[in-house]
């Protein structure tokens, strides 16, 4: 085919116009790449500097090493802080998920006297700044001569996680198709059986999501923990204190591992869900 024929059939669009058209069509996608880059810059930085052959402070790149990954507990206190955070996180998640799920069923499924007041009580802790939550709870502990420490921190975490669990589980219950439960009842299931075999399995993914949210909120909390933990060091507290004199690269190893672990967990959960839907 000669060039002339093409010209006659389809008028060619100048390169510049073609580019601007492509650009206009993909503007949002390009923006999305920039947005995610912005979100992940410090994550990538933390990961890269976990391989830094640094001494005590991990400020300047000094060369590549795997030593930090081979010995993540090498820096003093890092691993005890991490294990405190995990223990507190698991305990707080368990209590907050149980209490919050019960509340969620009550407000989502029943109409009762004081329902709007209940919703207010659930909303208020989320509308209160963390400094206020932390400071007021510490005042209460001091008033009753309870020393801040491990259990006060667990209590504090349960307190601020409950509302988030309620909101997450409530949304899941609200999105259920009521006909599924009606069908179970039509098939002579009693209330308890319906709940156990139909309602609960359907709400379970919401509860799992709420538990994951509660754990990540607890694990990452610094402000409320700082007020109520006394001499107990959690991972965020360790990082905050260490920041003044330089954070050991082992902290970057732990931060990065948590990131990959959580990512793997969430993606695995999604895959399981997708299989179930099929």
């Amino acid at each position: 085919m000669s060039k002339k024929v093409i010209d006659a059939s389809i008028p060619t669009i100048p390169v510049k116009a073609r580019f601007s058209r492509w650009f206009g069509r993909n503007l949002l996608r390009i923006y999305m790449i920039f947005g995610f880059t912005y979100l992940f810059i410090p994550v990538a930085y933390t990961f890269v500097f976990s391989f830094n052959d640094s001494g005590k402070s991990n400020l300047i790149w000094k060369g590549f090493t795997l030593r930090n990954w081979q010995n993540p507990c090498g820096a003093p206190e890092v691993c005890s802080a991490l294990s405190n955070s995990i223990k507190i996180g698991l305990l707080a998640t368990t209590f907050a998920t149980i209490l919050g799920t019960m509340v969620a069923f009550a407000v989502a499924r029943y109409s009762f006297k004081g329902r709007s007041a209940s919703n207010l009580l659930i909303f208020l802790p989320m509308a209160t700044p963390e400094v206020v939550l932390g400071a007021s709870l510490l005042s209460l502990f001091l008033l009753f001569k309870i020393n801040p420490g491990f259990w006060p921190t667990v209590i504090a975490h349960v307190m601020f996680c409950i509302s988030f669990v309620v909101v997450t589980v409530k949304a899941r219950i609200a999105s259920l198709d009521p006909r599924l439960e009606q069908a179970a009842m039509d098939l002579y299931a009693n209330e308890l059986e319906t709940f156990r075999r139909v309602t609960f399995p359907l709400v379970a993914p919401g509860i799992a999501g709420a538990a994951l949210l509660a754990f990540s909120l607890s694990f990452d909390d610094f402000i409320i923990t700082n007020f109520n933990s006394g001499t107990v060091t959690t991972f965020p507290k360790f990082v905050y204190v260490a920041a003044a004199r330089g954070i050991p690269a082992q902290a970057n190893v732990i931060g990065s591992s948590m990131f990959f672990l959580a990512l793997a967990l969430v993606i695995a959960g999604q895959l399981v869900n997708r299989k179930k839907i099929r």
Partner: protein, 284 residues
């Protein structure tokens, strides 16, 4: 079930609400009580007695009005910035990501799992003197040779915007995703161009997400002190920093309590006004 039905919701509520009452409501009441105490004459530091000194509030406020103002200005700025950054992002995930939607949504939350303190400190090092950004900008003469990016108000606002961005993106996504694309098509059928359809259909329908997102960003931002402590300087302290240091360094519990209470009241009033205003606009 053998239980009388009326009692079921109350039985479900009881454990959770008993917990919230003991560890949320009681502390707040106790905080209010602490806020009007004065030091015991001749007592140790940290010993206070109730004397209904409401003047504590006046002192606490007048001594720290600068930090109060800064908290609200910084929180407002970072909320607006986060909204501006997150809206197109949430829009793109909701409408332009096809089968990658779920993965992208996970990626929005993923940075959470690297401790937010580690990420904030990472920003400090990236934007600091030893990082690559400042020397680069200096050699390109975009910023002056003496200009720094960290230890400034700018860095504090940027840090808060970054840290609260997922809180803004998720509710925005949730409400955008719920929009039936046919409503936007219908606007096109009625001769609305892209911009008009966006302004008159998409934006109003996404308002619940905007309200939820701005609240989830503004409330923690107004009470935050970590960003100011890591990325700021003594001249960019926020009210959270004052409460923290009154508590731990000066053991001045009454002032800390009065400041906390004022902060909470101010936030609740602003939130109520905001919900009311946005609510009415939505109805029009």
């Amino acid at each position: 079930m053998s239980l009388p039905k009326v009692r079921v919701p109350y039985l479900l509520l009881f454990p959770g609400f008993a917990f919230l009452f003991t560890f949320f409501i009681l502390p707040i009441i106790n905080l209010a009580q602490t806020s009007t105490q004065t030091p015991i004459k001749g007592g140790d530091t940290g010993q206070y007695q109730q004397s209904f000194a409401f003047s504590n509030y006046i002192h606490a406020f007048t001594e720290n009005k600068e930090q109060f103002a800064r908290s609200f200005v910084f929180a407002t700025l970072s909320t607006l910035l986060a909204l501006a950054i997150a809206y197109p992002l949430a829009y793109a995930i909701a409408f332009k990501s096809g089968k990658f939607k779920n993965i992208l949504l996970v990626l929005v939350v993923a940075p959470f799992f690297t401790s937010f303190l580690l990420r904030t400190i990472a920003w400090k090092q990236i934007l600091g003197e030893e990082g690559f950004v400042v020397p680069g900008l200096r050699s390109l003469h975009i910023i002056g040779q003496q200009t720094t990016l960290t230890s400034t108000s700018f860095a504090v606002v940027a840090g808060m915007t970054y840290n609260f961005l997922p809180f803004m993106t998720l509710p925005l996504y949730a409400s955008l995703e719920r929009i039936d694309p046919r409503t936007i098509e219908a606007a096109g059928d009625l001769y609305a161009n892209g911009i008009t359809a966006f302004r008159r259909v998409t934006v109003p329908l996404s308002m619940p997400g905007v309200v939820a997102g701005t609240l989830l960003t503004f409330i923690p931002a107004a009470g935050d002190y970590v960003n100011a402590a890591i990325l700021g300087s003594p001249t960019s302290k926020m009210v959270g920093n004052v409460i923290e240091s009154r508590y731990f360094k000066i053991v001045d519990y009454p002032t800390a309590a009065a400041l906390s209470f004022t902060l909470m009241a101010a936030i609740l009033i602003l939130v109520t006004l905001y919900i009311r205003k946005v609510g009415t606009e939505e109805l029009v």
